[in-house]
């Protein structure tokens, strides 16, 4: 009885709060709707990973086949290679791509010349707006083995004799993939850190200057600790996408010479799922991906909470 009245009191209090701040909740509405429509509504379709989906029978009417598609995937000879390629590319991308935007944000934040800062920001943000297809097209043109601009320049300065093998070598694929990604996303990814840095109390810096701290010391002892929660949260979120390699870029960069390392889960799903219209199978492979991502997210979040007391929840 007491619990019930407490619950009612609590609900009424919450409703009052919502009514008082209805404008804020109205702002939230589109996001909630978006999430619901595109992230929660489709979840019911995940069941086709466990069914033999037939269009005319619909999702619920298609035959239940349990883990058949998962077994088919894990029994593939290329399954270990697909996983290895995907994870290696992801880890490389994370290790190389995650710290650089932080460094750029710290550098820009410490920059005393506003004009230079603006130029650097514009130059580093711009590649983000180039579509992936164009970026890969540029890579193919610039790094073309015999006619690309880089090969021509290197030959002119006698640093290259013969073909530039970047596009033809499996070992170059990951470097090209990751570093072109860093080039296109560096500036854009630094925005969130710049915004976190703008919240750092200027008095801390003033006090540090009075104490004789150098710029580097202020970065290390003031800026970095202040944006640490943001870094940790973003890192945890990145871990939640660990096994997701966007198919578009890897697929576009694929050729006969680099297939050994460029065939990743997403390109495989695209070829088998969308090109061959095997929707149940591709859903199973993607679900497999998502489950790994989910466990990674939970584990990293728990680890972070234990170690740093910072976590998503």
């Amino acid at each position: 009885m007491i619990k019930n009245s407490e619950y009612r009191r609590h609900t009424a209090k919450m409703l009052r709060k919502i009514t008082r701040n209805w404008e804020l909740y109205l702002f939230m509405l589109p996001v909630v709707l978006l999430l619901f429509l595109f992230h929660y509504m489709p979840i019911y379709g995940v069941q086709i990973a466990f069914r033999e989906y037939k269009s005319f029978r619909g999702i619920w009417g298609s035959q239940w086949v349990g883990l058949k598609h998962f077994q088919r995937f894990t029994n593939l000879n290329m399954f270990p290679k697909l996983m290895r390629n995907t994870i290696l590319l992801s880890v490389y991308q994370l290790l190389a791509g995650f710290p650089l935007p932080i460094l750029l944000a710290l550098a820009l934040n410490a920059c005393a010349a506003p004009r230079f800062k603006r130029i650097v920001q514009t130059v580093t943000y711009a590649p983000h707006f180039i579509s992936m297809v164009v970026i890969v097209g540029m890579l193919n043109l610039f790094f073309a083995p015999s006619t690309g601009i880089i090969a021509i320049l290197l030959r002119k300065i006698n640093l290259l004799n013969g073909n530039l093998t970047t596009l033809m070598s499996a070992s170059s694929f990951r470097h090209l993939y990751v570093w072109s990604g860093i080039w296109s996303g560096l500036g854009w990814n630094s925005i969130v850190y710049l915004s976190a840095l703008s919240g750092v109390d200027p008095y801390l810096h003033e006090a540090a200057i009075v104490d004789g701290a150098t710029k580097l010391q202020r970065c290390r002892h003031i800026d970095l600790p202040c944006i640490a929660p943001t870094i940790v949260i973003l890192l945890i979120l990145r871990m939640g996408n660990m096994v997701d390699i966007g198919f578009q870029k890897a697929y576009l960069m694929q050729n006969s010479m680099n297939l050994d390392v460029s065939e990743v889960l997403s390109t495989y799903v695209y070829k088998q799922g969308l090109q061959n219209a095997q929707y149940s199978y591709s859903t199973a492979v993607n679900l497999f991906n998502s489950v790994i991502n989910f466990f990674l997210l939970i584990s990293v979040n728990a680890f972070s909470r234990k170690v740093s007391e910072m976590s998503l929840w």
Binding site: S55, N77, Q272, L274
Partner: protein, 522 residues
């Protein structure tokens, strides 16, 4: 007596000819009807299809209007998804589509696609029924069911040859060289192109020989064919005596691979052959300033520069061959009826009319009379020559000329049609037809291309696709590596074949054979 016999013979001959060209009563529909159509613009040259003059002509003659929704090739996956969800009404007709067989069959099982049974065809499209009965190799089926009919073209110059081999005659002449006839001569000519790059009209960055690795068009398969090895598409399969074989592990490919490797090491083929995408490849072969000495292509992009040449003799006693296109039907024009279609009989009579009425057929296949073709003095259909075409384009303007183009509904171009056809292009040395008749005819491979077909068991079909992906990945990287100078072909061959077998090559071949056998062509 003689007169009676003659009359009798004439009567018999007339009766024999009737089924070949039996006329369809017009108009096909008493009341005007409109049929909705989905069409996939695979080649990117039909975005205006719905507004073409051919449909006014069809409507005028038959009372049937086609209302066509054109999908661009980038919408293929969207079209597949629409077909897989079936959550909206299908159109009455699906023409060229690119939809995977399994989706079509699923839709058929669900009652959304009409099976074109013998009875249905005999009743409404007797010309098609009789033709398919006589030519089972043109009777395309999925899991034994005829769910669509495809364009049939028995024109040998179109169907019996894949790519022509094109040599840069301007460069040959500038260097005072003869057209090569053997692989050794070819290598010497290519070397001369390389040595004289930057001189005369040969650009410094010239590609002596250009191909696109593992691709069907502008393909290195042409070199395999010099050694008498047929293959088509990047599955590397062929059919010999009814048996599906995998050329990717045929020891005979070692020699052509070594030849390609030598050309690569000499710098006579560019590394771009392994990294270019299709669009870049097209841009290279059609470049206004030619910088390729030798390549393979379906059409000659510039007859004033490139000449078709015969396949090279390897001097090993093996007769060189030319690769073969699909001879019996082309997979670019499909015709499938859906359960939404209330006018099945009229739809079928429409395609029968298009194959029996010579004028309708030619308008549909080549474009409108008076713009794309006309009758010659003997009343035979005569396509316009390049000169006439250019004059027409100048007269009408490019846009109107395109509007007067072909209609993409399937037709049957076989004996009956060719008896009404005057192939003037066969006399034009700049045409593919001439090249076929005068150079390639005796070289084209006489066997059958492998055509992928369902085994009838979805699980087995899926297994085949899985195996195909794994085998293709290993084969293409290994062979490309060898050609570009990595490893030793002879030393590594056995290990490669063993690895292919471990990946399930034999199982793959059995599944391919099982599917191929369902076509009933053996």
């Amino acid at each position: 007596m003689k007169r009676t016999v003659c009359l009798l013979l004439a009567l018999i001959l007339t009766l024999l000819l009737l089924p070949a060209g039996a006329e369809v009563a017009l108009p096909i529909s008493k009341e005007p009807i409109t049929l909705s159509v989905w069409f996939m613009d695979i080649n990117g040259d039909c975005s205006d299809l719905n507004s073409r003059a051919i449909w006014d002509y069809v409507e005028e003659k038959t009372n049937i209007r086609l209302d066509i929704t054109v999908f661009s090739v980038t919408q293929q996956e969207a079209l597949n998804l629409r077909m897989s969800t079936l959550d909206e009404a299908l159109p009455d007709i699906i023409m060229r589509h690119g939809i995977p067989e399994n989706l079509i069959y699923d839709a058929y099982e669900g009652g959304f696609i009409i099976e074109l049974t013998d009875e249905l065809l005999k009743e409404n499209a007797p010309f098609w029924a009789a033709f398919l009965e006589e030519h089972p190799e043109s009777d395309y089926r999925i899991n034994g069911k005829r769910l669509e009919v495809l364009e049939i073209n028995y024109d040998a110059s179109v169907g019996n040859l894949r790519d022509q081999l094109l040599m840069n005659k301007v460069w040959l002449d500038e260097l005072g060289l003869k057209v090569p006839t053997t692989t050794t001569e070819l290598k010497n000519v290519l070397q001369a192109f390389k040595d004289h790059a930057g001189e005369g009209s040969i650009p410094a960055e010239a590609f002596p020989y250009y191909y696109q690795w593992d691709q069907h068009i502008t393909s290195p398969f042409d070199v395999l064919a010099f050694w008498g090895i047929p293959t088509r598409r990047n599955h590397w399969l062929a059919v010999e005596d009814g048996k599906v074989i995998y050329q990717g592990v045929n020891p005979a490919i070692k020699e052509p691979l070594k030849y390609l490797r030598e050309l690569y090491e000499l710098g006579l083929t560019p590394a771009e052959s392994f990294t270019d995408d299709r669009q870049t490849s097209i841009a290279r072969t059609t470049s206004e300033t030619p910088y390729i000495g030798f390549f393979g292509n379906y059409n000659n992009p510039n007859p004033s520069i490139y000449i078709p040449v015969a396949p090279m003799d390897t001097e090993t006693g093996v007769k060189p061959i030319m690769r073969k296109q699909e001879f019996s039907y082309t997979t670019s024009r499909y015709f499938m009826l859906t359960s939404s279609n209330k006018y099945i009989a009229e739809s079928l009579r429409l395609i029968d009319w298009l194959s029996t009425d010579i004028e309708a057929l030619t308008n549909m296949a080549y474009g409108m009379r008076g713009v794309r073709w006309d009758y010659d003095e003997n009343g035979l259909v005569q396509p316009y020559t390049n000169e006439q075409t250019e004059a027409k384009k100048a007269e009408l303007g490019e846009e109107e000329y395109i509007r007067q183009g072909a209609g993409e509904l399937p037709t049957i171009k076989a004996d009956y049609y060719f008896s009404h056809y005057h192939d003037v292009l066969a006399d034009d040395p700049n045409s593919r037809q001439w090249a076929y008749q005068n150079i390639y005819k005796n070289y084209v491979w006489e066997g059958y291309n492998y055509v992928e077909a369902s085994t009838g068991d979805p699980d087995l079909d899926q297994r085949r696709k899985d195996l195909a992906t794994e085998l293709t990945n290993l084969r293409t990287t290994t062979l490309a590596g060898w050609v570009t100078g990595k490893g030793d072909i002879d030393a590594e061959w056995d290990a490669y074949v063993e690895q292919m077998n471990k990946l399930g090559l034999q199982e793959y071949l059995e599944l391919c054979q099982r599917g191929y056998d369902t076509l009933g062509w053996n």
